[in-house]
Amino acid sequence: MSELTLKDVERIAHLARLQLTDEEKAAYLGQLTAVLDYAAVLNELDLEGVPPSPHAVAQQNIMRDDVIEPSLPIEDTLHNAPQQADNQFLIQSVLDE
């Protein structure tokens, strides 16, 4: 298996949108390496022709009828928002003006 570097840790943290301190980065580098090394035991197995199991009990395409049903009232939906305005969630601008 490929060796994990501090750069990888930073790349993963960015993908996961996690702000990490330098101490955390160093700690996770060691701990993630230990867990991934441990997982290397799975390479012992011959998995040729073995299908993957994404679920415990396989079910597919559970559909409901296309009928309009009541949703949560807007005030309930917004109740926990850190910031709101005009019945909407308020966030920082994401597009340049």
């Binding site: 990888d8 701990q31 991934l36 799975l42 998995l47 994404p54 009990v57 850190p82 910031q83």
Partner: protein, 473 residues
């Protein structure tokens, strides 16, 4: 009548016969919480006002002869399960102050059954842990020894039931989070088949593994609570639409001719000798009760831990992407939107961040096949192990945990040793089996030991009856 000593089923009978009332039982629990929970710390939130209102309403219904299954019975709910109007944090600072706008399916069912909800119990953050030490708020203590952990992640629920601070409790079990704390606290804990109970309103950790479970002081109590909250619900697309069963009626105590498999792989190196002795004695007891004991093999057991610690973090990293400080929870404002999200997500505790990192890596371009894809294939082999075993036997018997409760702080700095606490429970979550833990004695330190009974898909009645027969003997 000492109300705190009654079991759930005893209280139910006493309420129906008018020997006591729900307000008295609820007040007895609330008093007990005030008296005990400063030390044990099993509850994150106590919903005392709401509980007493529910109890008063239940007493009116009881007076009218209403026989609803849990009418007037006070129950605790793990804080990862949404309760309308009552703070629900999943043990995380990132959901501090979150008040759900709706009830989880299982809470709707509790209310339908007439139960009184005492409060929300402590959990490892987002159910990631085996000791409650990963809670963002505090660590729950084991009622049998306050220097030790109650197990986890549903440690608050297990400790509350063990210390008579609830007649029963709901938990969730993704890798052993009901069975392992039940074992550590000396109570009964059931983890039903995946899909048996709707997960609607249960905060998601690893969606292909999560399932709600029930705790009780006895097998009958655990069964009564399971009976009340089980059922199909179309709002959870993994909920199984299967016919209703009377699990309480299935507790006959007759296990003559039952085939019980004992897997060699579950008596692992490094396990406590006293745990092995107690569990083997319990298996001998099942034989005395008429069961046939058969040595079996689950050959891929050793791969379950690495498979679990790739699949569960992978699913968690996707599920936890929603915590961005936009719709709920605190927001930490940064230089721009992305920076705000990153700073807000720094509110996750160390174990949650570790698993998000691990899962993100296992799913990232170039590593998906090597880690996640490979783990899904080995999961197939683990599922097949159980399928093969259940062609030979009705029930699998094993220890729930290789050790009794460990000391607070003992494993906190070593993720791998903490992960080993679930080594005997998490295979089941990867498969389509169900399982429970029932107390089977104590070690020389006076700490409880659990016997794990595993059943085939949807065979909860079989394992509950086996545990009932053992408990009654």
């Amino acid at each position: 009548m000492n109300l705190t000593e009654l079991t759930l089923t005893e209280l139910r009978t006493a309420l129906r016969q008018g020997e006591t009332n729900s307000v008295a039982a609820t007040q007895a629990m609330l008093d007990r919480i005030v008296e005990q929970d400063n030390d044990i710390k099993s509850y994150l939130t106590i919903t005392d006002e709401m509980a007493l209102e529910q109890a008063a309403a239940a007493d009116k219904r009881l007076a009218n002869g209403d026989q609803s299954p849990l009418l007037g019975v006070p129950i605790a709910v793990k804080d990862i399960i949404a309760t309308k109007g009552a703070t629900t944090t999943a043990g995380s600072k990132i959901l501090e102050g979150f008040v759900p706008p709706y009830d989880a399916f299982v809470v709707e069912k509790l209310k339908e059954a007439g139960a009184v909800i005492l409060g929300k119990t402590n959990t490892d953050e987002f159910a990631m842990g085996s000791s409650t030490e990963n809670s963002g708020y505090f660590t729950t203590r084991n009622p049998w020894d306050l220097a030790r952990v109650p197990g986890g992640s549903s440690g608050g629920s297990a400790a509350a039931v063990a210390a008579n601070m609830a007649y029963g409790a709901l938990g969730t079990d993704t890798g052993g989070s009901v069975r392992q704390p039940a074992s550590f606290c000396g109570v009964v804990g059931l983890r039903p088949t995946y899909g048996r109970i709707s997960r609607w309103g249960v905060i998601a950790f690893a969606s292909s593994l999560d399932q709600v479970g029930t705790f009780g002081r006895t097998v009958a109590d655990t069964t009564a609570l399971f009976q009340a909250v089980t059922g199909y619900d179309r709002r959870d697309s993994t909920s199984l639409d299967v016919p209703a069963e009377d699990f309480e009626a299935a507790l006959t105590g007759d296990i003559k001719g039952l085939k019980v498999g004992v897997p060699a792989e579950y008596f692992v190196e490094g396990m406590d000798a006293e745990v092995e002795t107690a569990v083997r004695a319990a298996i001998a007891q099942l034989e005395k009760l008429g069961a046939e004991i058969i040595e079996i093999s689950l050959p891929h057991t050793q791969y379950a831990l690495p498979v679990y610690y790739l699949i569960a973090p992978a699913e968690a990293s996707a599920n936890l992407a929603r915590y961005d400080g936009i719709r709920y929870g605190p927001r930490i404002e940064g230089a721009d939107m992305i920076d705000s999200v990153k700073q807000t997500r720094a509110l996750f505790g160390p174990e949650v961040k570790r698993r998000i990192m691990l899962g993100t890596y296992a799913l990232s371009a170039g590593y998906y096949d090597e880690y996640y894809g490979r783990a899904l294939k080995v999961r197939t082999l683990i599922k097949q192990d159980f399928q093969n075993a259940f062609e030979q036997v009705d029930v699998i018997a094993a220890p729930t945990s290789p050790t009794t409760a460990f000391k607070i702080g003992e494993r906190a700095d070593d993720p791998l040793s903490m992960y080993l606490a679930d080594v005997l429970t998490l295979s089941l979550n990867l498969s389509a089996s169900c399982g429970l833990s029932v107390p089977c004695g104590f070690d020389s330190k006076g700490l409880p030991i659990g016997l794990q009974l595993i059943g085939n898909t949807l065979q909860e009645a079989t394992i509950l009856n086996t545990a009932f027969a053992y408990e009654q003997a």
